[in-house]
């Protein structure tokens, strides 16, 4: 227990720290209130369950643990270890006011166990911290940066552990009967101090260490709010308010007439949840490490975007709040467009919208939504985009497809093949949505459409096509930021299919699939759409499709982003291949949820520009590593990209690129 002066000082100190803490917290919360409204308050129970599951079980970090990254385990140890220490800090402060050692109130047994646990936790934390420091400063994995922030945090935690042992050691020296049994580390420290000759003045040293400890704990609690450790407070909320709907959808713009609805240019045009994202970022760099654009040397680094936005928010926040309080229109930083200053156009257009960053993010930051929001601003408000896109937008608007081929050409691909037109004959079970690439691009993609039709015929499925009535699903327009054009196409498609009474669709293009399944419902559509791989698996399983002969070639499967990550269709294509191949399907280094993009998504197929290396080339390298002869995919865009990569590498005779449907067509 402290003398009365010490108690008053401690009380004042606590008050001061609480004041500082609440000041900063209030500032941070008020900054959030600058953002736009967004409803994330549904499904309380489900949200709570998910959040607790993620945090308590450490699922948020453990899911990223893999052969080359064990950091998640270390994080979980630190999380639980430090939680124990947090409790001990309450006891620690209480000791200043109250004579008896606080855990002793709960009985000797609790006391003994608590301090034993603390001693062990301290040791484990020290080991983990040293490991973390070695990783960050010596091994230097690419995703981590050796920032001062990270160093300070490691040092503080390390010193907290040492101070704790110091206090224990001195305490043991002052007491004749040890305050807790089994203090195996504490005893070592006390013997060490005794040997140094600190035995006589041990109670003075004890209180010096005690105050030092208090200072570090209090200092740290404030520092947390100013550092990337803010994620301790922000990430649980960020997990709680995560997007609940389908993974693959972007938020629609409801009113195009309101100017600042058209995408995001200023920081305050982000929603409060998007701003919370920025607080939650731990700068772990997993997003950048998994980003295909970043991997191939393009200017985009998702972490940088989030980090820069955060810095921008915190720097301009004070001015914005001030002018909000004063009710004056502010002309400062916060009111300026972020594009060009905080985020460059090069970064924005390099994104393939593959979602790898979101899937890998432990605190579920929504990078893609952010990037598309900024793109929307560039396209709709500023009309600034790669020059190639103008032609795409105009083609989509005038002809209803990105190539400018025109609707009549959509009936050319099934030459010599019997296909019903849904607008003439409504005796169909399912509509084959061909999509622009399948119907219009080149012989290779048209042959995928033909193969699909043949497979459906073999299985006896009564299907029809829309032919000239079909329009682009709108995916390219939406991902490029032209939301207006997307909604125009979407509503036209939905209306037309309603008129024809179409309920069920099948497609082989994952982009069309994603738009129909996850985005058209935003506009009141209720079509059921399946991917051809889902349908084929069922047909194979119930014997409607019979495999005539298995093939001996060595296969590897590439997960298209919009099929795998966006719609969790990983297993179906693999199951189908199991029917066909005699050996097992080989997996690339990155597969399923971690699969690398082909580089075509998010409008990059149309711009055709490349800074750095080609993403499809990186992916093909991974395919070559597996020693396979055939790369199978389930997306026409992936196929086109890989075709050109294989040709560039001069491997067209040794590595075949093909679609799952084509394999089934050839073997049944």
């Amino acid at each position: 227990m402290l003398p009365i002066s010490g108690k008053i000082f401690l009380l004042l100190l606590i008050g001061f720290i609480l004041y500082l803490f609440s000041l900063r917290t209030r500032f941070l919360i008020r900054l959030l209130s600058l953002g736009k409204a967004e409803d994330r308050f549904d499904h309380w129970g489900e949200r709570l369950r998910y959040t607790l599951g993620q945090i308590l079980a450490g699922r948020c970090t453990l899911r990223n643990v893999c052969k080359w990254d064990y950091a998640g385990i270390g994080h979980l140890i630190l999380f639980y270890g430090f939680s124990l220490f947090l409790i001990s800090y309450v006891f620690h402060i209480a000791e200043g006011f109250y004579k008896k050692l606080s855990p002793a109130i709960f009985g000797t047994l609790f006391n003994n166990f608590f301090y034993l646990a603390l001693d062990m936790a301290g040791l484990v934390i020290i080991i983990v911290i040293i490991w973390a420091a070695i990783r960050r400063y010596i091994i230097k994995p690419e995703r981590l940066e050796s920032t001062l922030d990270a160093g300070i945090i490691l040092m503080v935690i390390f010193s907290l552990m040492l101070l704790n042992y110091g206090i224990e050691g001195f305490r043991l020296l002052t007491e004749t009967k040890p305050f807790a049994e089994w203090l195996f580390v504490g005893i070592v420290f006390s013997r060490f101090f005794a040997r140094l000759g600190a035995g006589e003045n041990s109670s003075i040293y004890f209180w010096i260490f005690w105050w030092l400890h208090i200072a570090v704990v209090f200092g740290f609690s404030i520092y947390v709010l100013y550092s990337k450790h803010l994620h301790i407070f922000a990430s649980p909320f960020n997990l709680f308010f995560r997007p609940m709907g389908s993974k693959g959808s972007l938020q629609p713009i409801e009113d195009f007439e309101k100017g600042d609805n058209l995408g995001v240019s200023r920081i305050v045009e982000l929603s409060w949840k998007s701003l919370l994202d920025l607080y939650a970022c731990t700068e772990c760099g997993r997003c950048t490490a998994s980003c295909p654009a970043s991997m191939s040397g393009k200017p985009l680094k998702p972490k940088e975007i989030i980090h820069n936005l955060k810095t921008h928010l915190l720097c301009s926040g004070k001015d914005m709040l001030f002018s909000k309080d004063q009710g004056v229109k502010e002309k400062g930083w916060g009111q300026q467009s972020m594009v060009g200053q905080i985020v460059t156009e090069g970064e924005l257009w390099a994104c393939t919208t593959c979602r790898a960053c979101i899937d890998v993010c432990p605190v579920e930051i929504e990078h893609v939504e952010r990037i598309v929001g900024l793109r929307r601003y560039l396209v709709m408000r500023e009309a600034r985009f790669p020059s190639e896109y103008k032609k795409i937008f105009k083609n989509l608007e005038i002809f209803g497809d990105p190539f400018g081929a025109g609707s009549l050409m959509r009936e050319e691909w099934p030459s010599g093949l019997e296909t019903k037109k849904a607008y003439q004959d409504n005796h169909i079970d399912v509509l084959l949505w061909v999509g622009c690439t399948g119907a219009l691009y080149d012989e290779k993609t048209k042959s995928v459409a033909v193969a699909t039709a043949k497979v459906l015929n073999k299985a006896g499925v009564r299907f029809g096509i829309l032919g000239k009535k079909e329009l682009c699903c709108g995916d390219p327009a939406r991902r490029m930021g032209n939301e207006y054009l997307f909604q125009k196409l979407a509503t036209r498609n939905i209306e037309m299919m309603r008129k024809l009474g179409i309920k069920k669709l099948v497609t082989f293009c994952p982009h069309c699939l994603n738009v129909f399944r996850n985005e058209y419902p935003q506009f009141g559509a209720d079509f059921e759409i399946v991917h051809i791989t889902e349908m084929m698996r069922t047909l194979l399983e119930n014997g409607k499709l019979q495999i005539k002969a298995k093939t001996a070639s060595l296969f590897t499967y590439h997960d298209p982003c919009y099929l795998g990550r966006y719609n969790q269709i990983h297993q179906q294509p693999r199951d189908i291949l199991e029917f066909v191949v005699s050996s097992t399907v080989r997996e690339m280094a990155l597969s399923r949820d971690r699969a690398l993009c082909c580089g075509a998504g998010g409008g990059n197929f149309w711009s055709g520009r490349t800074i750095g290396r080609r993403i499809e080339g990186l992916r093909i390298d991974q395919a070559i590593e597996t020693g396979s002869e055939v790369v199978v995919t389930a997306c026409p865009f992936c196929e086109i990209m890989f075709e050109s990569a294989v040709r560039e590498k001069g491997l067209e005779h040794s590595l075949k690129i093909t679609d799952v449907v084509q394999i089934i067509d050839q073997t049944t």
Partner: protein, 285 residues
């Protein structure tokens, strides 16, 4: 500056779907209508004048059926201030010029801009006729326009082919027909598109003209129509040896390879550095 831009909605006859495959004629049923690309260039040039001189005004005029309003609104979305449609049938160049000139007579203007030609009929006449009817200066096929408002003069450059240009100084008001290479037309911003959708179009009836000629009378008439020899249907398939991007570009251009190119901008030192890096990138050095 008060600028008038005359535009035309054209049937995009070069598009495969517009051609009736049985007889090789243009099928009006399947026609896709767009704004004449040359007029887009004129519109863009008008916008550049408006952006340079504060208080400028742009009026867009077209002559035709109600369906032409779609193209009119698209042109308006570039950033014009007023739209006028002269309500009439499809007219021949002389009659079109007459109705345009009659309407323009009642307006204030410094510059009239027209596309050099419409890519559907390829007559190359309307701009010149309008200037003649209004009795103002006319320069055709310009690729550069500098306005000197103080002296009410314009300095224009005309394209003569093979990189030659002819510089002409002339008094305003004047009419210029623009070459397609003059600029790269913008993609209208969405708020402007929405504004254009709502903007009222002033309709001018041809009966209101106090004319000295009969506008209903086309000076030319079609004597006979010779159908072209039916050609085998051309399906364009890109060379499979090209990369995906090359093929995409070829498909988009309908099989015509264009020269790739970028204009480098910045300080001379930076440009030099960029050129070197491009040469290294393209493996020339």
């Amino acid at each position: 500056m008060r600028v008038i831009v005359c535009i035309k909605q054209i049937g995009f006859i070069y598009h495969p779907i517009a051609i009736d495959s049985t007889n090789g004629n243009v099928d009006p049923e399947k026609m896709v209508y767009i704004l004449n690309p040359y007029d887009e260039v004129a519109m863009e040039e008008a916008m550049r004048i408006k952006e340079r001189f504060v208080g400028s005004e742009i009026i867009v005029i077209t002559a035709g059926l109600p369906r032409t309003e779609e193209a009119l609104r698209y042109a308006f979305a570039f950033g014009a201030d007023k739209m006028i449609r002269i309500d009439c049938q499809n007219l021949d160049p002389w009659a079109t010029s007459s109705v345009l000139a009659e309407t323009i007579k009642g307006l204030n203007y410094d510059i009239i801009l027209c596309g050099k030609r419409a890519i559907d009929t390829n007559d190359n006449q309307v701009g010149t006729f309008v200037a003649e009817l209004l009795d103002i200066t006319q320069v055709s096929g310009i690729v550069r326009l500098d306005v000197v408002p103080e002296s009410k003069k314009a300095i224009v450059e005309r394209y003569l082919g093979k990189g030659d240009r002819e510089a002409i100084e002339c008094d305003l008001p004047a009419l210029f027909t623009v070459e397609k290479s003059m600029n790269d037309p913008r993609y209208p911003k969405l708020p402007d598109r929405l504004r254009a959708e709502k903007q009222e179009i002033e309709i001018v009836e041809t009966t209101s003209f106090s004319t000295h000629f009969d506008v209903k009378l086309n000076l030319s008439e079609s004597a006979s129509l010779t159908p072209p020899r039916p050609r085998p249907k051309k399906v364009f398939t890109p060379d499979s040896h090209l990369s995906a991007n090359e093929r995409r570009r070829l498909i988009m251009l309908g099989g015509i390879a264009d020269k790739k190119g970028d204009v480098l901008q910045g300080a001379p030192e930076d440009i030099a550095k960029k050129i070197v890096s491009i040469l290294i990138e393209e493996k020339f050095i």
